[in-house]
């Protein structure tokens, strides 16, 4: 009762603050800007907020908040466009959406997938806000109950989703996840600073690979290459089937799924340190487990869109809890958000433990501004989805060069090194082969995303646990097996059991034909070669830095074991076995008019040319050559499309104050901006 007595007046004050014409106008402005930035894959809240920061100084607090929240709130909504339409995961929030959203677009149901996604986002955002309004008052002790063993268990729970997404040959899924985990350990270890699979001579590798690059490489590059080879529109018959109203109906038919996934989103989002990276996978896993007929997952089941999308906007609300109550940002954009709040007004609002006590009305304003921004953003997105979905009916050869341009630019933004482009290409190559041989790409990505948390939480939890055990056995057991940990272990075990039962039916890559033994065997050997190299490399780390070597050794060992069993299977089984899946043997890839290497060479050409003459000049050459030679356009159309691409790139970069990758030419002579 006491709780409600404090909450209600603050809540009504919050609404009084929000419902002013100027505040709402700023919110809409923020939403529109957020949509403009968010549709760009790889650019999200961080780029957008950085853009707003210079204006925050001394601004009226509520208006500043409206502007910033409007921007942050719609990023997980707007990046759905790229996920569904192009198969490009716009941010970590919409990775799982790709799995079913993109196949729907390929079937000509882009508008339906988009509107189902947006409706779910909207609903998730509202459920999140309603839940938070009460929860935020009691959240503090609950958040503090999540120590390192608990966080480790949630991470392991996230990893257990591999069981669902492993594909037809479970061992391949395990190996793919292990490979993802190993790739995630590349670079300087957090704990002891040892180098893993990297050297000081290649500074780029020391920081490890960025999620943006791995996400784009694993999902976007293989799809773009595959579609480009087939030289058709994304939608198979170049027509739009179901419209946006169907998507809304789909959502309504699955409203309870949406509710459950929203709650998952808020709850996982609340835990600091995990960020949003696992939420959408957990929601996807739950969706699969709670569906009777799983045969359509991975091929375009609308529930596979509704689940993750309900969770990812709810997660943003949940992420506010650590941000506001503890002053600890749950994500990069939240970190800037905290910094910006200190600049607002007279600077007397400071996030942290005192926030609830001193500024409960502002806290509630933030929660409900977020919900309101979701409503505005979603309505705009649904209105636009019918039109934008038409992109899927255009001949893909016209879209591909722009997509190469966008992903190269997005990749470069992550580290502003030329090596970002090389890494994108290398990871893209891995993605192409994972796809070809039906090794689960989601499993690889889950492994990569969770690599750092697994290592960090296990090392730290072990250190603290051993300290407790030294004190007394009981205290140690109490720390390691807290009630929350036990519940999570039970959930994880159940999830794996159910997952394995359901997994047989899920074919994330569709039906994959089998053929000769040679190519799948060679790929397996290459993977094993890398795993062995990583093992030897990790083993060379001196023993006093055990924390830096234990995780690569264990993960590498498991992965190697999985690979060895696969090797034995390959030796014993006939060519028609699923273990020899190879997309080049039959089906759309094998029948495509263009070859794999010839198509990849275009992208490689763009990167190589960038190394010599810098991005913009290389892009100009690439676009002109591509439209003229590959697409067979006339000169007029070629020049028009190329100019449009370059103008768009320059406009975007100048608005966001971003640079382009320079080349050797730029080292030699000084050039004016876009060419610089």
């Amino acid at each position: 009762m006491e709780m409600i007595a404090t909450a209600l007046p603050a809540l009504s004050q919050a609404w009084a603050l929000i419902l002013q014409p100027m505040v709402l106008a700023y919110l809409v402005l923020g939403v529109v800007m957020g949509l403009a930035v968010g549709v760009f894959p790889g650019l999200g809240g961080i780029a957008g907020l950085s853009l707003l920061l210079p204006f925050m100084f001394g601004m009226d607090p509520v208006m500043g908040l409206a502007l910033m929240i409007g921007m942050v709130a719609v990023v997980p909504t707007s990046d759905t466009f790229a996920s569904v339409l192009m198969g490009i995961p716009g941010s970590s929030a919409s990775q799982a959406t790709v799995l079913d959203g993109f196949p729907m677009a390929k079937r000509g149901q882009a508008a339906r997938a988009l509107s189902a996604a947006f409706t779910s986002s909207l609903f998730g955002g509202l459920v999140g806000a309603a839940f938070l309004t009460m929860f935020i008052l009691v959240a503090r002790p609950i958040v503090l109950a999540f120590g390192l063993p608990e966080m480790l268990m949630i991470t392991v729970f996230g990893l257990s989703m591999v069981a669902i997404l492993a594909g037809r040959v479970a061992l391949k899924g395990v190996a793919a996840a292990g490979l993802g985990l190993l790739v995630g350990t590349i670079g300087e270890a957090d704990a002891g600073g040892s180098l893993r699979m990297s050297t000081y001579d290649i500074p780029y590798l020391i920081d490890g690979l960025q999620l943006v690059i791995v996400g784009l490489g694993i999902f976007a590059v293989p799809e773009i290459v595959s579609l480009l080879r087939q030289d058709r529109a994304i939608s198979e018959d170049a027509r739009l089937g179901a419209g946006w109203a169907d998507g809304v109906r789909d959502w309504f038919a699955n409203k309870w799924l949406s509710v459950r996934c929203s709650i998952i989103g808020v709850v996982v989002g609340v835990i600091p340190g995990l960020g949003g990276s696992v939420v959408d996978w957990i929601a996807y896993g739950h969706t699969v487990q709670s569906t009777r007929d799983t045969s359509e997952f991975g091929l375009g089941n609308v529930r596979g869109v509704i689940g993750p999308e309900s969770s990812n906007n709810a997660k943003e609300g949940g992420g506010l809890v650590p941000t506001l109550l503890f002053g600890i940002p749950g994500s990069g954009s939240m970190a800037i958000f905290i910094g910006a709040i200190a600049l607002l007004g007279t600077g007397d609002i400071e996030v942290g433990p005192a926030m609830l006590r001193d500024n409960l009305d502002i806290t509630y304003s933030i929660v409900w501004l977020l919900a309101l921004a979701n409503v505005v953003g979603t309505l705009l997105c649904i209105a636009a989805s019918g039109g934008i979905a038409r992109l899927t009916t255009i001949r893909f050869t016209y879209l591909a060069p722009f997509l190469f341009m966008l992903i190269a630019f997005a990749a470069f933004q992550s580290g502003q090194n030329f090596e970002d482009l090389l890494a994108l290409f290398a990871i893209g190559l891995i993605g192409v082969f994972l796809r070809r041989f039906d090794w689960s790409r989601p499993a690889f990505l889950i492994g990569f995303v969770l690599s750092n948390p697994v290592e960090k939480f296990s090392n730290q939890a072990v250190q603290i646990a051993s300290f407790r055990f030294r004190k007394s056995f009981e205290e140690g057991m109490e720390y390691v097996f807290s009630p929350i940990v036990i519940v999570l272990i039970v959930i994880t075990v159940l999830s794996v059991v159910f997952g394995l039962r359901q997994a047989k039916a899920i074919a994330a890559e569709g039906e994959v034909p089998t053929g000769s033994k040679r190519a799948p065997l060679v790929f397996l050997m290459v993977v094993m070669g890398y795993v062995i190299a990583a093992l030897i490399n990790a083993n060379a780390i001196p023993d006093y830095n055990m924390t830096d070597k234990i995780v690569p050794l264990v993960v590498g060992g498991v992965t190697l074991a999985a690979c060895l069993v696969l090797l034995v299977q390959m030796m014993r089984r006939p060519e028609s076995d699923a273990v020899f899946a190879d997309k080049e043997m039959a089906g759309e890839d094998a029948d495509a008019p263009h070859g794999l290497w010839g198509t990849l060479a275009w992208f490689a050409g763009l990167i190589a040319a960038t190394w010599v003459v810098g991005f913009i000049l290389a892009l100009a050459g690439f676009l002109v050559a591509f439209f003229r030679i590959r697409a067979g356009c006339g000169w007029g159309k070629t020049l028009l499309l190329s100019a449009a691409g370059i103008a768009f790139m320059c406009l975007m970069a100048s608005a966001l104050n971003r640079d382009f990758p320079p080349g050797l030419l730029q080292d030699a002579i000084d050039l004016p901006w876009p060419l610089r």
């Binding site: 001394g58 957090d190 600073g193 503890f326 910094g339 200190a342 600077g347 090392n459 300290f467 030294r470």
Partner: protein
């Protein structure tokens, strides 16, 4: 404007009778303030705070944008800045304690030289260590009663700013076991709040923003500050926390801790490099004197704003902001650590944490 025309113009101006008043005008220009960290850290907060103020104070009100160049613990950005020669006032660089320490410890990745750069502004901060209540009850101004306790501390790494607290606790004879791998001091505080860690330290803004509240609620007890420097370089009580003793006082009161000798000199040298002069703003090497003067004047104007004290408390704390000559002296202080101190710390890092640093 190409370098040639700029040089020609400069020559033209120099030839006119009004050369003495040749003014730097940055109207229409964009000044890039490069920070070698990501958008999310304390340096970002610091630069974002100063950027709009600097823009107002510079002649011609250029747009000042903060650019982020994270990587390799800030050495990537600093190495990049070392190569820059755009001395026309359109580029400034912000470094922090995390840039200074690798430089002092001869990290193999460091390819930059602080003495090449032109410091124009510097600001500092303080730090407060605190204990969980049970240990806090045993703390009586000396660490004597804490020596038989086991402490756990969430740390960002022994070669980072955490070197200062870790060395201080070791000198007091306390048994503090660092749990490495956390990403920011906020995570350390959370670990403390969860009861997994039982000792912690925060910089001034972090302490005021979160930990002070814990102290108020009886969930934490402040132990000591690192102190502040007076005009003569002596360690005195931190002006923001006049009631909390400094490490120097606690050390004097604790058996076996010396405020002279090798260990103390090393600690003090690294404290001075990391806290009283934590963040510096630089112009590139070879910048024209007029540009330097312009920037010094601009930062001077920012510092003298009437509302500066009020608006700066949260971002830079109640610590002096050094400009021009003062920044120059601050840089000297921050980067001139005697060889013996470096050697001592390197030996200590190797023996206690197995960290091997070359050179």
């Amino acid at each position: 404007m190409t370098k040639f025309t700029r040089a020609a113009l400069a020559a033209l101006i120099a030839a006119t009778p009004f050369a003495a008043t040749a003014e730097v005008d940055l109207s229409g220009e964009t000044v890039e303030w490069v920070i070698p960290f990501s958008e999310t850290g304390g340096s970002a907060k610091w630069a974002n705070f100063f950027a709009p103020l600097l823009s107002e104070a510079l002649p011609g009100q250029p747009t000042v944008v903060v650019k982020f160049m994270p990587g390799a613990g800030s050495t990537k950005g600093a190495n990049w800045f070392q190569e820059q020669e755009e001395g026309d006032g359109t580029l400034i660089f912000g470094s922090s304690g995390s840039t200074q320490f690798p430089y002092l410890l001869n990290d193999p990745r460091v390819r930059y030289e602080y003495n090449d750069w032109v410091p124009v502004m510097a600001s500092g901060t303080g730090g407060v260590a605190y204990l969980e209540p049970e240990a806090g009850a045993k703390f009586d101004g000396s660490a004597n009663a804490l020596k038989d306790m086991d402490f756990i501390y969430g740390s960002q790494g022994a070669t980072r700013l955490d070197l200062v607290p870790l060395l201080a606790w070791e000198m007091l004879g306390m048994n503090v076991e660092p749990v490495f791998g956390i990403k920011g001091r906020g995570d350390g505080r959370l670990m403390f709040e969860r009861g997994e860690a039982n000792i912690d330290y925060q910089t001034t803004s972090g302490y005021l923003g979160g930990s002070a509240d814990l102290v108020e609620q009886g969930m934490a007890v402040p132990m000591m500050t690192w102190g502040a420097l007076d005009e003569d370089g002596n360690i005195v009580r931190d002006p923001t926390f006049p009631d909390i003793p400094t490490f120097k006082e606690v050390c004097e009161a604790t058996d076996g801790c010396e405020t002279s000798g090798e260990a103390w000199d090393a600690w003090k040298a690294f404290f001075v490099a990391g806290f009283p002069v934590q963040k510096l703003a630089f112009l590139p090497k070879g910048t024209d004197q007029e540009v330097i003067d312009t920037y010094v004047a601009a930062f001077e104007a920012v510092r003298n704003r009437e509302d500066f004290e009020q608006i700066s408390t949260q971002t830079v704390g109640e610590y002096p902001v050094f400009v021009g000559e003062g920044a120059q002296r601050a840089l000297q202080q921050a980067t001139s650590v005697p060889q013996e101190a470096k050697d001592y710390v390197k030996t200590w890092l190797r023996d206690s944490y197995g960290v091997e640093l070359e050179g």
